[in-house]
Symmetry: C2
Subunit: 337 residues, 2 copies
């Protein structure tokens, strides 16, 4: 059995910088037609020059692969219309982080009052630039996304023309919001379709499955699976693939992030096939995103074949999701990689 | 400021075996008058000979410290009255593990039907041997202790003369059970009085705070604090100190257990003082246990003084709780260690 995916897109990707960028960029660029590139570098990407320079470094790292980088800025309320009018030639969206909520988010937003955000949000709304949000409060770790819901409701109401993407949703209550507000959308990761907190901490503690937002309950995973498998038009795939060196994961204090880009397409094929939904994968992995973000990706066909794929225990110093396990689907080697 | 504790007791302790036993036993035996010694070795302690031999190995490891070992057997339903009548000369209690629920619990109980347990439980009831229970189902990790509540209710009702100790309780619902059944008791650890899931997984993931049962919500910690600080007569201190080598903690799959024995008394002083409850610490750390388990411990006075104590980052290859942090209380060195 084979499936050919047309221009698969990863709408939430951390490519990092420096040596890590060079080590892992091609695990995305070989198999995806494009990706939303997250801006949480140190320092965060907040100027047009930084966007251009970062994009160049990515271009070098992907070594000639045809792979579109949908660049982003790290949200600041000081951006204003004129700056964003110029910036939109180089970026596809702006990413908002609450301060300190995940890796390299220290410079993020600390006030969620509309007055403190409206300068940038009004300009984005006018320019049609989507707002991508890491939606967590600083409350109890299992409640953070749910608690953030009222902020989503507030900005969705205050800026009805602003497209707001709830990134990497994990909580069943976020699904309800999708239905209630026309301008709310979502990305869903691979790992949140596969795991719950039990996989992270129910047996041995698994640092390579530790991520933010943390994996939740079975009923949350079911709710995510439901909209992903039917390729509900307001959701698209965003891996949130976030590599860390082994020394940062298997340590006294393990950084948050699952490195999934390399295994995402085979694992999605396995999941969608298992649920008799393989026909919907093209929408989830590409077509929905084209509509939501108003993009026309480059043409790139990626064929997967139902054939055992043993996931390596390590890829250039990073441990991928499903390390050492066998997946039912693999990339079709006959077309080269 | 000083406090002298009279015969402090640790009613739930993992001393391990072999090199680990030799490395860590004195962190308990120097500062406690005695401890309930858990039987989950490999293989588990299930015969009188094993109890005697394990006790000897502990005696060697503690190097002359006066320290009473309240030994236990690993629960098996095949024990029967005659065996236990002989065994009770050597043991203080029997520990029941659900199969596979924590470190070295593979040979534990897989059926919780009264008929499958009554042979041993009836004999224990008759002999007055307390049943110590790791109370978790195999359900979702945050719900396991709460779900186990119905089993506690079932055996507490079926064996009204059996003293049942709910070990290392973490869930506020377990506190309610204490009030509802005369023959239910509980131990509480140091770490569950200090941490919630936020400390384990709310920021960076902290393998050295990972334990079973996993730390729960703030309202659970509050409920535990309430009964501990007032030294509610049905609860006593049990550290559940459970050392693992660093290589088993900072790894792909981190073993469950917090190593707290060495820091337990200073940290309890700090906590009880902070909550104006220092007067109740003697009961929580010793007097309640004497009543519950009907024991008269050896005389041992341990004095602590309000003086900064910097917790080492490592103790013989194990990372203790509060590593690298400063506590307000320390052992009184003037009395020697």
């Amino acid at each position: 059995m084979k499936i050919t995916l047309h221009s698969p897109l990863d709408m939430h990707l951390h490519l990092r910088d420096g040596d890590m960028l060079k080590s892992i960029a091609r695990y995305s660029s070989r198999y995806f037609a494009g990706a939303i590139i997250m801006p949480n570098l140190v320092p965060p990407v907040t100027t047009i020059e930084q966007v251009i320079e970062y994009d160049k470094r990515i271009e070098e790292a992907i070594d000639g692969d045809s792979f579109e980088r949908y660049m982003t800025l790290f949200f600041k309320n000081s951006y204003g219309y004129d700056f964003l009018k110029e910036a939109e030639k180089y970026i596809k969206a702006i990413k908002l982080y609450p301060s300190g909520i995940t890796t390299n988010s220290e410079g993020g937003v600390s006030s969620f009052e509309i007055d403190d955000l409206k300068e940038t949000l009004e300009a984005m709304s006018e320019l049609g630039l989507p707002l991508l949000v890491h939606g967590e409060t600083n409350g109890f770790v299992m409640d953070r996304e749910r608690e953030f819901g009222s902020f989503y409701e507030k900005i969705a109401s205050a800026f009805p023309k602003l497209k707001i993407v709830m990134e990497h949703i994990t909580d069943r209550h976020s699904i309800k919001l999708l239905n209630e507000y026309e301008n709310l959308y979502a990305t869903i990761t691979l790992h949140h379709l596969y795991i719950t907190l039990d996989d992270v901490a129910g047996g041995l503690l698994k640092p390579h499955l530790f991520c933010k937002p943390i994996a939740k309950r079975y009923e949350d995973r079911e709710a995510l699976l439901d909209v992903a498998l039917k390729a509900y038009p307001k959701v698209s795939f965003g891996s949130d693939s976030a590599p860390h060196p082994i020394s940062s994961k298997e340590s006294l204090g393990c950084a948050a992030g699952v490195f999934s880009s390399f295994v995402a397409l085979p694992a999605l094929c396995e999941l969608f096939e298992k649920h008799n939904s393989l026909d919907n994968l093209q929408k989830f992995i590409s077509d929905n995103a084209r509509e939501i973000y108003d993009i026309v990706p480059i043409k790139k066909e990626v064929t997967l074949v139902k054939k055992e794929f043993e996931v390596p225990k390590e890829l250039n110093g990073v441990v991928p999701m499903f390390y050492g396990e066998k997946l039912d689907w693999s990339y079709d080697e006959s077309i080269g990689s």
